[in-house]
């Protein structure tokens, strides 16, 4: 019997506790004596705080304490920004957990009430009296960067938090020599990540021991511990962070938030456990958002259809403060990816990170790559159109040819491996591209607006190596670690530092141990999410967890295999060189009837009755894996839409995805990631986007106003894959968590623009709401 499990779509081991409603999420945690915190948030986008009177609130029923920014003076340090990109003039103005004399976005924390119940705490908020003096407001990131715009931070001129440039080749010369150039302005609206679970924190402080325990909805409990230490001053080894079940994050649960620091602060002041859980409207105000780009972009090509250059000027809204990882998103994760799947020899880009009076922006699913891919894929379509070439043919002509071990791109990074034409061809074949174009031609002849759009994409993920993390200013490492521990019975516990939140890695990690050591999958338990019983890890984001933690688990397993071989040699009275391994069994070459199973070995190592001279008892190994390069998954997606010319309504009719994420451990989970990712990418193309009024008031304040994809709005997605292993990863993995989101936005945007082409419309800002599309159609009809 074989225990091999790679490539098998086995059911997830995490599901039984979730489908029965038995698994605890942070807001389900209840501690004896626990009280509840509610946070007063600024109603103004920009204002000076003249005075705060908390006395009436303090005497409300049930209220235990009310704190303002003044109470945190000298106790809480400012909120840290942990990605200080080099080669820029980055400024990190002070960001207090609770605002002291000025608020800079609607949702900025102003005070906190702690009371016996959440109802009482929220009631008391209304009795805090704050006198504000309102100030000028800027929202659009390009407008915010212009001289004369309202200033958020006194020492940050023109609100420019940083300027960062990327260059390779000679873009200006390419443009001067081009036969054709196209340009566009692309806006990527602010998005709300919307994990279904709101953020929450529970803090408990034992003063006698100086120990702080924090339950948190965090994607990276070890980073949360590190930053809690920085902000509260409690030493790191006295802090325990537990991320129990986490109900989705999509990047928004990476940052370290004022709310977590405030909850810890209250628990430390009061000596009783404190819980804070955001409402959905608080999530819309105070949880980091994504995108918010204004991109002015140009592409140059020769008349034979060869792309020769790309130039960009990008204004990236950062919100009022620089959140934990924010500066890295529009720079390293965006600008370095400008080449996409193409050979573009000449690239130059300038990116301005701009403060604006919005909620701070940080990573959101895809983080930087959807913004980059949309920019390239839009330009590719426009250039193909300018050359009167079919967009698929134009892509094929410019794709980087198949490569197996490294390809240099002009922005200075090295793609690991790729066969971009294969995913393109597979996608076109699956969708019957020629057939679709024929159907489209017939529809157009009837005056119907049918569009076909596609995107060929590449992403940078599997984030590591740490050396690069240091070089690009990330204030941490990007390795992962794992401990694989065999019990006497042959059952296994694996402790990992990274902690998934819906991606199913308890299952895929167990499959790795099974694959490496021949242990049945059900005999492997994965332990994560608690800094007290897991080794250090840098977190789950950027499609890195299976890749980097998976690498650590594979290496720890291989150490176990080496030791097991030695022990088997001793027990079988043979030389180590003569021991062979196959599927969980160790035997002397040529006589596998005398085999010792991995379970036999585990028992002998643990009882340690008969060990080789000098060998330590036990069967346990830990490994740290620092990847030698990023991984670069890729693919092609294609969509068909029909636009109703009377109403502007868009019907997304069909969707094909072909992705290559290297070797797949569990295809069922990979496919699920693609489904979910695609839907999150369709959202911003068609429906999603934060809208502020001129005073910086968000008009999209609840799920009623912020349109999320719902079941009845979407077709089934046709998912397929190819397999190009990463040459440098021990298991050939690349990562797939963000693929769908990166590809879907430009795919659907291009499809709608293709539908509108006969009318001469070639630009409508996302999201493509019926009203905007209807206006564009009408303007075009009226000769606009």
């Amino acid at each position: 019997m074989t225990t091999r499990s790679f490539g098998s779509g086995i059911r997830r081991r995490e599901d039984p506790r979730l489908i029965t409603g038995r698994a605890p999420y942070t807001d389900d945690i209840k501690l004896p004596g626990m009280v509840h915190a509610a946070i007063l948030r600024s109603p103004h986008a920009h204002a000076n705080i003249k005075s705060i009177d908390t006395s009436a609130a303090a005497s409300q029923p049930g209220v235990v304490a009310v704190y303002t920014g003044a109470d945190t003076d000298g106790v809480l340090a400012g909120m840290p920004c942990a990605w200080l990109i080099p080669g820029s003039d980055l400024k990190t103005p002070e960001h207090p957990a609770i605002a002291k004399d000025r608020v800079r976005y609607v949702g900025d924390a102003v005070a906190v009430v702690v009371a016996g119940t959440r109802y009482e705490a929220e009631d008391a908020l209304e009795h805090i009296e704050v006198e504000y003096e309102t100030l000028g407001v800027v929202i659009n990131p390009k407008a915010a960067a212009q001289p004369g715009a309202a200033q958020l931070h006194d020492d940050v001129e023109n609100n420019i938090a940083f300027t960062w440039a990327v260059a390779g080749g000679d873009a200006d010369a390419a443009f001067a020599a081009a036969d054709v150039t196209v340009s566009d302005t692309i806006t990527l609206p602010r998005l709300i990540a919307n994990p279904m679970e709101p953020r929450s924190a529970v803090a408990s402080y034992m003063a006698a021991m100086g120990e702080l325990t924090l339950w948190s909805t965090s994607q990276n409990p070890h980073i949360a511990r590190f930053l809690t230490s920085v902000v509260t001053g409690v030493p790191e080894h006295k802090i325990r962070v537990i991320a129990p079940e986490v109900g989705g994050g999509f990047g928004s649960k990476i940052p370290y938030y004022p709310d977590e620091a405030i909850t810890a602060f209250c628990a430390m002041k009061l000596g009783v456990p404190v819980k804070w859980t955001e409402t959905r409207s608080e999530n819309y105000l105070a949880t980091t958002q994504g995108r918010d780009h204004v991109e002015e972009v140009e592409m140059a090509a020769t008349s034979d259809g060869t792309i020769t250059g790309l130039r960009t000027t990008v204004y990236a809204g950062m919100g009022a403060y620089l959140s934990t990882a924010a500066p890295g998103v529009p720079t390293i994760l965006h600008g370095l990816m400008y080449s996409g799947a193409y050979n573009i020899p000449n690239i130059s880009g300038t990116i301005y990170g701009v403060f604006n009076n919005g909620t701070p922006v940080d990573a959101y699913r895809g983080a930087g790559r959807p913004e980059a891919t949309t920019l390239i894929e839009r330009l590719v379509d426009l250039t193909a159109a300018a050359l009167d070439m079919d967009p698929a043919e134009f892509r094929r002509k410019n794709l980087i040819p198949k490569f197996e071990n490294g390809h240099d791109v002009a922005t200075g990074i090295i793609y690991d491996s790729g066969d971009y034409e294969l995913t393109l061809n597979t996608c076109l074949a699956n969708a019957d591209y020629d057939g679709l174009r024929a159907v489209q031609a017939a529809a157009r002849a009837e005056g119907r607006l049918v569009g076909i759009g596609m995107a060929t994409w590449v992403e940078i993920c599997g984030l590591g190596p740490s050396q690069v993390a240091g070089a690009v200013g990330f204030q941490g490492g990007l390795w992962e670690s794992a401990i694989v521990r065999f019990h006497p019975t042959g059952k296994v516990n694996v402790m990992v530092g990274s902690s998934p939140h819906g991606q199913g890695e308890e299952t895929t990690f167990a499959q790795i141990v099974s694959e490496e050591l021949g242990v049945p999958v059900e005999d492997v338990e994965i332990i994560h999410g608690d800094t007290d019983n897991t080794p250090m890890g840098w977190g789950t984001y950027g499609s890195r967890t299976t890749v980097v933690s998976g690498g650590a688990i594979a290496f720890a397993s291989r150490k176990i295999k080496e030791k097991s071989k030695e022990l088997a040699a001793h027990l079988l009275e043979a030389a180590v060189e003569d021991i062979e391994y196959d599927d969980g069994r160790f035997f002397v070459r040529g006589s596998d009837d005398q085999a010792k199973t991995i379970q036999d070995i585990a028992l002998m190592a643990n009882v340690a009755w008969n060990m080789p001279e000098g060998m330590e008892p036990g069967l346990e190994a830990s490994a740290f894996y620092d990847p030698p390069n990023f991984t670069y998954p890729f693919g092609t997606h294609l969509a068909v839409v029909e636009v109703n010319a009377e109403t502007g309504h868009i019907d997304l009719q069909n969707y094909w995805a072909v992705d290559d994420c290297g070797v797949q451990i569990n295809p069922m989970i990979v496919e699920g990631q693609v489904h979910g990712g695609v839907v999150q990418g369709v959202g911003p193309a068609l429906w999603e986007g934060v809208v502020y009024d001129d005073n910086g008031q968000p008009l999209t304040g609840t799920m009623q106003d912020y349109a999320l994809p719902r079941a009845d709005l979407l077709p089934d997605i046709n998912v397929a894959s190819t397999t190009t292993p990463s040459p440098h990863h021990p298991l050939g993995l690349k990562g797939v968590g963000e693929a769908g989101t990166i590809a879907a936005t430009p795919t659907v945007y291009n499809a709608v623009m293709d539908a509108l082409r006969p009318l001469g419309v070639n630009r409508v800002d996302m999201p493509l709401t019926p009203e905007k599309v209807w206006r564009a159609i009408n303007d075009a009809k009226n000769g606009g």
């Binding site: 409603g21 999420y25 389900d28 109802y119 919307n194 279904m196 959905r280 009623q704 979407l714």
Partner: protein, 158 residues
């Protein structure tokens, strides 16, 4: 604030207590009855994570007051099975990978259970329509639809 007595039968057990008239049913279920399978996702009746069955009909328990539910029978995810022998819907969500983070799942399953009671053999289209009041941010819905389809088959529909 005044308190009023309520008595609600949840998953066959009677829970009684004094609550404020404004207390939401979802908070009664989570806090007073200690059944945390029912989740709060939006508190504005949009997302469906708090979906329970109130006297046999699905209700968003963030929009019902505990006092309104007094004297009623409520079923939550914890009442659907004993946690060991799974309900066919639970089994199907597991088989079809109909969940990722699991936060929307209790509400999805409770809504699907009502759908299948009223329409034992729904089409994919009908399933998508029946679930448009339940947001899932992880799965892209496709596998949820497949799970409900499979459960329909297992429960005797087709």
């Amino acid at each position: 604030m005044v308190s009023v007595p309520v008595e609600i039968t949840i998953n066959g057990r009677v829970f009684s207590g004094e609550v404020e008239p404004r207390q939401l049913l979802v908070h009664f279920i989570r806090e007073n009855a200690g059944l945390t399978g029912t989740k709060v996702g939006c508190d504005t009746s949009q997302c469906g994570t708090c979906t329970v069955q109130l006297d046999g009909q699905i209700a968003k328990s963030c929009t019902v007051l505990a006092v309104q539910a007094s004297g009623s029978t409520v079923n939550t995810i914890e009442g659907l099975s004993n946690g060991v022998d799974l309900h066919p819907l639970q089994e199907a969500f597991w088989n079809k990978h109909g969940l990722q983070c699991g936060f929307c799942t209790p509400g999805m399953i409770m809504a699907s259970e009502e759908l299948l009671r009223n329409n034992p053999s729904p089409s994919r289209e009908e399933i998508r329509h029946a679930l448009e009041g339940n947001i899932c941010r992880c799965t892209g819905y496709q596998n949820i639809v497949s799970a409900v389809e499979e459960a329909a088959g297992a429960m005797g529909g087709s």
